[in-house]
């Protein structure tokens, strides 16, 4: 399992990936695995009224990864405004106590919510992923 940011030839980054880069419409041709990187908390919440199959309470954070890896050397690059960071959303690990600006790292979880309990068709998507744990 990896936590992949997707990159287009103009070095725009998104998580998750899209059919075409939302910034420039080019195809996203490259991925960067963020699962071994650390990120900064942009904001967080603890939701106490959670839907069927979701742990209660459910603490969530939006985090931002700095991407230091050298941009893909691409000859088709037409813009110079490539991204050097990318955001992701995810659950916080149990009892994690965070504030805006704290550093966190991804921790793999096999099942983030019970796929049989909610309205979404189980087979239509993945249910594993990464929680964030304070460093």
């Amino acid at each position: 399992m990896s936590l992949n940011a997707h990159r287009c030839p103009n070095d725009h980054l998104t998580y998750p990936g899209h059919e075409l880069c939302p910034d420039c419409g080019e195809e996203q041709t490259d991925t960067i695995d963020l699962s071994d990187e650390t990120a900064t908390v942009v904001t967080w919440t603890t939701n106490t009224a959670t839907p069927p199959g979701v742990r209660q309470p459910n603490s969530l954070a939006i985090v931002e990864f700095e991407v230091s890896e050298a941009p893909s050397a691409s000859e088709s690059r037409t813009e110079s405004d490539g991204d050097d960071s990318v955001r992701a959303i995810g659950q916080l690990t149990e009892d994690a106590d965070v504030e805006i600006g704290d550093e966190v790292r991804p921790v793999y979880a096999e099942e983030l919510r019970d796929p049989d309990a909610g309205i979404r068709e189980k087979a239509s998507q993945e249910w594993d992923g990464y929680r964030f744990e304070p460093v």
Partner: protein, 385 residues
């Protein structure tokens, strides 16, 4: 160009209703036709704004059902789903149908039946609009509100109480709305001490789940006199819609509601109006934080300043720019597909001088209807003829 007039409007009581969706839609549709003294058979286009009747009650195909129940055959029918902004999107579709010349009389009915489900089940139905990477983490619309509210308070040094004051204001307005789900005043302390739902937001920062329906009847302004004599109609002078990212965390600035910025700019341009011209507004306060974000995005206040307007009473009913005189989604309730239609119902009543105890002095009204967490937004400007 012939402008598009609203010649009839209605809404049912919002709240916990025994009626199911078909009956709610029929009630609002019938009352709307009666308001304009129009015959069902005169309706050429019939639009139904609804997010999730299949998911909520296993009833699909509601526009056709409504046409039959009202005797509006052979009107062309269509369902409009734009999640929580289905109502606003329906206003846009109804406007298009008349403005294009395709229909000389268009009935728009928005509605949703939700309260037979538990709050968490209803929350899950709504959360099904999220991206798989959001849904698998149990992300809900209320959690987006908590995440965004924390960031807003942090960035603009706004006090937590300013959000609570939105709830206090809108509940106070709802006291005078006979259709509102909650006709109950709440004080600051009650809001601030209510249970946490999505930290830092509490129970009273959220709208309830609601059953209800609202309707509008639209025609070319040149025919308005037939249904609404003595200029007893209003005009849709500007209407537009826009989308923002589906994945909410991909927005450059989480405190900027891009869809509201884009759709309002276009609506102002069409109406040849500026934010300063607006006398009364209905904003989509599904969560208190959303009233700040939209009041800034549609240009009423600078970015990060919306909270100050609430603190200073600018948006009170007797303030310079009354916002959510109806009580908003917060107190009136939020039957998803009905809400955007009910916003225009309120503006229509205000502009006709028929808002009773809620009446404010106004000539131009604006409504902003938000789907997802700003994922898709419509802005509508309504005026006196």
């Amino acid at each position: 160009m012939d402008r598009v007039a609203i010649v009839g409007a209605s809404m049912t009581a919002f709240g916990e209703r025994d009626a199911w969706l078909r009956e709610l839609l029929a009630q609002a549709g019938r009352e709307c036709l009666a308001d304009a003294d129009a015959a069902p058979t005169d309706v050429e286009h019939l639009y139904v704004s609804n997010m999730a009747s299949g998911e909520f009650e296993g009833q699909t195909g509601v526009p056709n059902a409504l046409a039959h129940d009202l005797g509006a055959m052979p009107a062309y029918t269509q369902r409009v789903d734009q999640t929580s902004a289905s109502g606003g999107a329906g206003v846009y579709a109804a406007w298009q149908s008349v403005a294009s010349g395709a229909s000389d009389l268009t009935l728009l009915v928005g509605g949703e039946k939700m309260t037979h489900r538990t709050t968490t089940e209803a929350t899950d139905v709504i959360a099904s609009l999220t991206h798989p990477v959001e849904y698998k983490h149990g992300v809900t619309l209320p959690s987006f509100a908590g995440l965004t509210a924390r960031r807003y308070l942090h960035e603009y040094d706004a006090p937590r109480e300013s959000l609570a004051k939105v709830a206090v204001k809108n509940h106070k307005n709802g006291l005078d709305n006979p259709h509102a789900q909650f006709r109950k005043a709440v004080d600051l302390e009650t809001v601030m001490e209510s249970p946490i739902v999505a930290d830092p937001l509490r129970l009273y920062d959220f709208c309830p789940i609601t059953d209800g329906s609202a309707a509008l009847l639209l025609c070319p302004e040149s025919l308005a006199d037939e249904y609404a004599p003595d200029d007893n109609y209003t005009v849709v002078s500007g209407v537009a819609g826009a989308t923002d990212t589906h994945v909410v965390h991909e927005r450059d600035d989480p405190t900027v509601m891009g869809g509201a910025v884009e759709s309002s700019e276009e609506a102002y341009e069409m109406a040849d109006r500026e934010p300063e011209d607006v006398d009364v507004a209905e904003l989509h306060d599904m969560f208190t934080i959303l009233e700040f974000l939209q009041s800034e995005a549609v240009g009423f206040f600078d970015q990060g300043e919306g909270w100050k307007a609430v603190e200073e009473g600018v948006t009170d009913r007797d303030g310079e720019l009354p916002i959510n005189t109806s009580g908003g989604l917060k107190s009136k309730g939020h039957p998803l597909g009905a809400s955007g239609v009910a916003q225009i119902y309120e503006l229509h009543q205000q502009l006709l001088g028929e808002a009773g105890d809620r009446q404010v002095d106004c000539e131009v009204g604006l409504a902003c209807n938000v789907g997802g967490f700003g994922n898709c937004v419509t802005t509508t400007i309504v005026e006196e003829p």
